[in-house]
């Protein structure tokens, strides 16, 4: 019954490796968002899932980025062949059928 859960909280990976970031939304929330935030910057929209509708992928920066949401619940954001510019905090949020979004604590990704 807790809030949005993201794992891992921190991830260090070598350039060129693939990473998977996980988001467990609040049960019953139909909408799920992924955002990226570089140090001291705003939130960059990546992808949006709403119910059974096709996801809005318009914010994904390249084809190395993809996301799935299985069974309308857990979501995984995958980054293939990571680059140093992918280093950021990746934030997930979920929302009931209302505009208010509930955020997880994020995954800090460092690509070395």
């Amino acid at each position: 019954g807790a809030g949005v859960s993201q794992s891992p909280s921190n991830k260090v990976t070598e350039k060129g490796k693939d990473v998977e970031l996980r988001c467990d939304p609040i049960s019953g929330h139909t909408a799920l968002y992924w955002y990226r935030q570089s140090l001291g910057q705003g939130l960059e929209f990546l992808i949006y899932f709403q119910g059974n509708s096709a996801p809005d992928k318009s914010g994904l920066p390249s084809d190395r980025f993809s996301a799935e949401r299985t069974g309308g619940s857990v979501s995984t954001l995958t980054i293939q062949r990571t680059q140093q510019e992918d280093s950021a905090v990746y934030l997930c949020a979920s929302s009931p059928y209302s505009p208010e979004a509930f955020f997880g604590q994020g995954t800090r990704l460092t690509v070395v």
């Binding site: 705003g42 939130l43 709403q50 934030l91 929302s95 505009p99 208010e100």
Partner: protein, 111 residues
């Protein structure tokens, strides 16, 4: 993509003073929200104002919305050191659209 632009980018005030942050956006919106972020991690929802509303209050927070100017302001009255954080506005449009955030205002309240 980022829709909102907050200003100022950074604001430093003394405890007890009022803090005002502004947000401008580009398209027609359905709702505008303000969020707070401590230490670069998860955001917390503060207040929502609908496009047909002009002003809303919640505790020490007051939000105004001017759809003709595509702008909103967040006023925090009688600020406290604990209000130190980054504040973001977020908008959504009619239909099934995602929340889009601005770049944020970093507020420092000095005790």
């Amino acid at each position: 993509s980022q829709q909102g632009e907050e200003d100022p980018q950074a604001l430093s005030i003394q405890e007890g003073e009022n803090a005002t942050m502004n947000c401008s956006y580009k398209t027609s919106i359905n709702n505008l929200q303000w969020y707070r972020q401590n230490s670069g991690r998860g955001l917390v929802h503060l207040i929502l104002i609908r496009s047909n509303e002009r002003e809303k209050h919640s505790g020490r927070l007051r939000v105004t919305l001017d759809t003709s100017k595509k702008s909103s302001s967040l006023l925090i009255t009688a600020s406290r050191a604990a209000d130190t954080a980054s504040y973001f506005c977020a908008t959504d449009e009619e239909g099934n659209t995602p929340l889009v955030f601005g770049k944020g205002t970093r507020l420092s309240v000095i005790a």
